[in-house]
């Protein structure tokens, strides 16, 4: 009993600081974990990463969803699909599936699931080689509904944000921005 109370207190404190909670899904091993980030890797090098930031007033799912898609689009990510999800504790989220060509020409799949709570905005990312996409697309729905997102407050609404409207990335242009993925050899971009 003597040791149980401090242990419980520490457990309560540490879980209170965490922005999210995700147990490693089947096939993934956790390699790094902090209050604002978690990194997991599968044996076939598919990476799963959860990142969190403090949210701001007005930081709805629509606002951050549009920001995310626009900026990833500018870097060469092509949005393929957008679908609503819900976390284990009922926080609304949106899943964005992208196609991406790495600078070395490798085709990749990249999925980002965005959640917003009153205190945090959380992104769960899964990426790997495109040929592994089919294996993980189905599993990702289960993973997205098994994560707990902290920071919901009584009487506030960001945890139940409305879904963003259907977003789209722009088709790649001849001269992408410096931040874009036009790092492919043979296609110089303006410095």
């Amino acid at each position: 009993m003597k040791h149980l109370i401090p242990a419980l207190a520490i457990a309560l404190l540490s879980s209170a600081c965490a922005t999210h909670k995700l147990e490693p899904p089947a096939g993934f091993a956790q390699v790094d974990q902090h209050n604002y980030s978690t990194t997991m890797i599968a044996a076939d090098h598919v990476g799963l990463n959860v990142k969190a930031w403090d949210n701001v007033k007005g930081g709805t799912l629509s606002f951050w969803g549009e920001d995310l898609v626009n900026k990833l689009g500018a870097r060469g990510y092509a949005l393929q699909k957008q679908s609503p999800v819900k976390s284990k504790n009922g926080v609304a989220g949106t899943r964005f599936d992208f196609a991406y060509t790495a600078p070395d020409g490798a085709e990749k799949f990249y999925s980002a699931v965005l959640y917003t709570s009153d205190d945090y905005r959380v992104v769960m990312q899964v990426a790997g080689n495109a040929e592994l996409s089919a294996r993980y697309q189905g599993q990702l729905t289960d993973i997205a509904s098994s994560i707990k997102i902290r920071g919901c407050k009584m009487g506030k609404s960001l945890c139940k944000s409305a879904q963003p409207s259907q977003l789209a990335t722009k088709a790649p242009q001849g001269k992408p921005k410096p931040s874009a993925v036009a790092d492919a050899p043979g296609e110089p971009q303006e410095g």
Binding site: G47, L68, Q125, D183, E187, P188
Partner: protein
């Protein structure tokens, strides 16, 4: 009394609202990212302006320089070959498309030994964030095959290239395309005065050498011959020093030094986003899910 009490209440409310608005709303990491991005961008912007001005110069200067070099005397042409040795020959700069003005026509009619071109040494550098440093280095190493020149030195993350000055701009543009150019710089050093001085001294000393050789032939006594020989040795020695310096200068103006530093681009090196209050997406992406 009532009015002053109401005023005090209103002031207190305004103060409270003001305090709340000024409180930070972003995570500390975002503050760091924002300041980092701003610093890099300011610096890069200035460099870009400088590059636009400076980049215009090499091609013009080198066009004139290469034309003047073709007009130079046979002595210097031999020196050219000697100094360039194993280095691949530089690509010929294109002839100016604009028809020469009257003044230029007159300059062309001057004796070939008169060299009125600008001689400028260009030194440039770039710091590029790339996804794969090894690949970027390999690409940079192959630049001399495309443009001429050679690799001067190389390390794990940096390479120093000597490229034909006329191709410097194109090479920098091409290499900049392999990642995010965080910094670039270009310095120029005008050595025209030294070049002209060296050529004049070379011409004068060559004439002196010819005269001394004639005197040596005409020497009647051993003492006379020895004195002339001594003077001739001094002149010859000085001539070799001058020719060496000229060859060095010619190499430095023909080939520009380009220093490239590569570093790995990842979540901790976000793409600088000007005027973006939320650069959080810079840290997201496929690379961010990779474990390193």
């Amino acid at each position: 009394m009532k009015t002053s009490f109401s005023l005090a209440c209103v002031c207190a409310l305004v103060g409270l609202v003001g305090c709340k608005k000024s409180a930070p709303t972003s995570a500390p990491s975002e503050y760091f990212e924002e300041s980092y991005a701003a610093d890099e961008y300011d610096y890069g912007g200035d460099m870009d302006d400088a590059m636009v001005e400076a980049e215009a110069a090499p091609s013009i200067a080198m066009e004139r320089s290469s034309r003047a070099r073709r007009e130079r005397g046979g002595l210097f042409r031999k020196a050219d070959k000697a100094v360039l040795g194993s280095a691949p020959p530089s690509e010929p700069a294109p002839e100016p498309s604009v028809a020469p003005a009257d003044g230029a026509t007159k300059a062309d009619e001057r004796p070939p030994e008169v060299d009125d071109a600008r001689h400028i040494i260009y030194t440039a550098g770039m710091r590029v964030a790339v996804f794969n440093v090894a690949d970027a280095l390999a690409t940079a190493e192959g630049m001399p095959e495309r443009f001429g020149g050679y690799v001067q030195s190389m390390s794990d993350s940096a390479i120093v290239l000597r490229l034909p000055s006329a191709s410097l701009r194109e090479a920098m543009k091409s290499l900049g395309g392999y990642g995010n150019v965080e910094q670039k710089w270009l310095r120029s050093q005008d050595v025209t005065a030294e070049f002209t001085d060296l050529q004049s001294r070379l011409k004068a000393l060559t004439e002196t050498q010819t005269q001394l050789l004639a005197l040596l032939d005409d020497a009647r006594t051993v003492e006379e011959a020895l004195k002339v020989r001594q003077a001739l040795d001094e002149v010859t020695s000085e001539l070799e020093v001058l020719k060496g310096r000229l060859r060095q200068l010619d190499n430095m103006t023909t080939y520009s030094t380009l220093t490239l530093e590569f570093y790995e681009r990842g979540p901790h090196n976000p793409t600088p986003s000007s005027n973006d209050p939320f650069p959080w997406v810079d840290g997201l992406g496929v690379e961010d899910t990779e474990w390193k």
